[in-house]
């Protein structure tokens, strides 16, 4: 249906719930398997971050590298609310999902994934920003060793989707410490050992890209947090 001005009018506007998110990720895998979206759209102004060899996890090994580029796995790491919901750590009745992606591996894959996500978003009637890669700018807000703790959500063809672990989610929530993050932390039932782990990590952020005030506040909140036995 079109308006008089030619602007498309559609009733298809869907929010991401968990089944739809899984369908959308699966569909991205199918699009990538078919050679991806070949549009000439230019990439957004996000500079891929070189995460260093230690962050690349399973795809750094030899046999994978020897495959043609088009057949190599692409790994996504979901963070934030989507990760919490898909792993069952956060209650399902939250607001609609943004699907924040922090790490693409290989780092150059982000454009290919974003193009596929745009195509899938149009197909499924999702908001344009449903797969949001802005979070990759803050790679230093993940504790080291996250790749050993991450949780596999699913392998959809070449697309391998992971979510950060509970303790990494807790760490990110303490660093952000907005009201909604604090509410999530209450839901996550933070334990004493979580606090110790997260404080070590937050201390390690000093002198890096995270603003010193955020680090100081996060540590204050960590030390003040009431653990419910």
């Amino acid at each position: 249906m079109c308006s008089a001005s030619g602007q498309a009018i559609t009733m298809r506007h869907r929010f991401l719930d968990m089944p739809l998110l899984e369908s959308a990720l699966k569909r991205i895998g199918e699009v990538l398997a078919n050679g991806g979206n070949r549009s000439t759209r230019q990439p957004a102004k996000i500079v891929p971050v070189d995460f260093g060899p230690s962050d690349l996890g399973p795809i750094k090994s030899g046999p994978v590298e020897s495959r043609p580029v088009e057949s190599r796995p692409i790994e996504l790491l979901l963070v934030g609310g989507a990760a919490g919901l898909l792993t069952g750590l956060l209650p399902a009745s939250r607001t609609t999902l943004d699907c924040d992606v922090m790490v693409y591996a290989p780092p150059t894959a982000w454009h290919e994934v974003e193009q596929a996500a745009h195509a899938v978003g149009r197909e499924l009637g999702l908001p344009t920003s449903w797969l949001n890669s802005v979070a990759q700018m803050r790679i230093d807000s993940l504790p080291g060793g996250w790749q050993d703790r991450r949780v596999l959500i699913g392998k959809f063809g070449r697309l391998h989707v992971w979510a950060i672990s509970r303790v990494d989610l807790i760490a990110m929530k303490f660093i952000a410490h907005r009201a909604q993050d604090l509410e999530d932390l209450v839901s996550l039932n933070v334990k004493a050992e979580d606090l110790a782990f997260v404080e070590r990590f937050v201390q390690s952020l000093r002198g890096k890209r995270t603003p010193p005030q955020e680090v100081d506040e996060a540590i204050e909140i960590l030390r003040d947090w009431q653990v419910i036995a």
Binding site: I9, T10, M11, H13, F15, D17, M18, L85, A92, S93, R94, T95, T96, L97, D98, P127, T128, S129, W130, H177, R178, A179, Q180, L182, E183, V186, E217, E220, I221, D224, Q226
Partner: protein, 248 residues
């Protein structure tokens, strides 16, 4: 059912009603067999429950940023005065003031003034989770947006979640009762139609409508004349009164 369970039920109902109005919560919307959410009452209930769920507050602001014209502003002001407990008025005033400032709209001025009579004397975080300790309270104070300091209910700045609000076609298809609101852009005529639809007794006299809508009698009389010309209501003399009822 204990107080916690009752609170959870009330919260779930609030979220379901917002979902029906077009806010993107991961819950089934309130069923279509029920009347569309009464938007002014929904705002009052949001103010009552905002302390316990920051996302409801942010989503309500995001919804208002898109659909402010659906709010019957006279009715909202009157309901604040007659129904909303003073302890919750600052939360609603802040919500409306945030939308007022970000959209540069004066639509809610009357309602904001009605809330401003009840600004608490002592500042504190709006959200309970930030009142759990002195550390959290101090950080909430440091991060609070300027408007929220004026309301003595501290909230950090946030962006409207535009992608989480349903488009107009969806909202109007799910809620055909909102057509009057849209047609009259939430002005006094919308308030009058909503009141008469909700309770036929509301139209018993201009005085009663003026009370319920928080407007003067001359303003109500002028609005009724417009509605009658538009064939939206019929009027009849009942003794010394002029009663108004919806046109069939």
């Amino acid at each position: 059912m204990n107080a916690n369970a009752r609170g959870q039920v009330a919260h779930d109902e609030l979220i379901a009603r917002w979902a029906r109005a077009g806010a993107g919560f991961n819950v089934p919307p309130a069923p279509s067999s029920e009347q569309s959410p009464d938007l002014e009452r929904l705002l009052l209930e949001t103010a009552r429950q905002a302390r316990g769920d920051s996302r409801v507050f942010i989503m309500a602001a995001s919804w208002l940023a898109r659909y402010a014209t659906l709010i019957a502003k006279h009715r909202l002001r009157a309901m604040i005065v007659h129904e909303l407990e003073p302890s919750h008025r600052a939360a609603l005033g802040l919500l409306l003031d945030i939308v007022h400032h970000k959209l540069k709209t004066d639509r809610f001025n009357g309602a904001i003034r009605a809330c401003a009579d009840s600004i608490p004397s002592v500042g504190e975080p709006l959200f309970d989770v930030e009142s759990r300790s002195e550390v959290l309270r101090r950080i909430a104070r440091d991060r609070a947006m300027q408007i929220s300091l004026r309301w003595n209910r501290w909230v950090a700045d946030f962006e409207f979640k535009e992608d989480a609000i349903r488009p107009p076609l969806w909202v109007m298809q799910q809620n055909p009762e909102y057509v009057d609101r849209a047609e009259f852009k939430g002005d006094l005529r919308a308030s009058i139609l909503i009141e008469i639809r909700n309770d036929a007794e509301a139209g018993a006299s201009e005085q009663e409508l003026a009370r319920r809508c928080g407007a003067t009698r001359p303003a109500v009389r002028a609005a009724l004349a417009g509605l009658e010309l538009a064939k939206r209501i019929d009027r009849e003399h009942r003794g010394v009164r002029h009663a108004a009822m919806l046109s069939v």
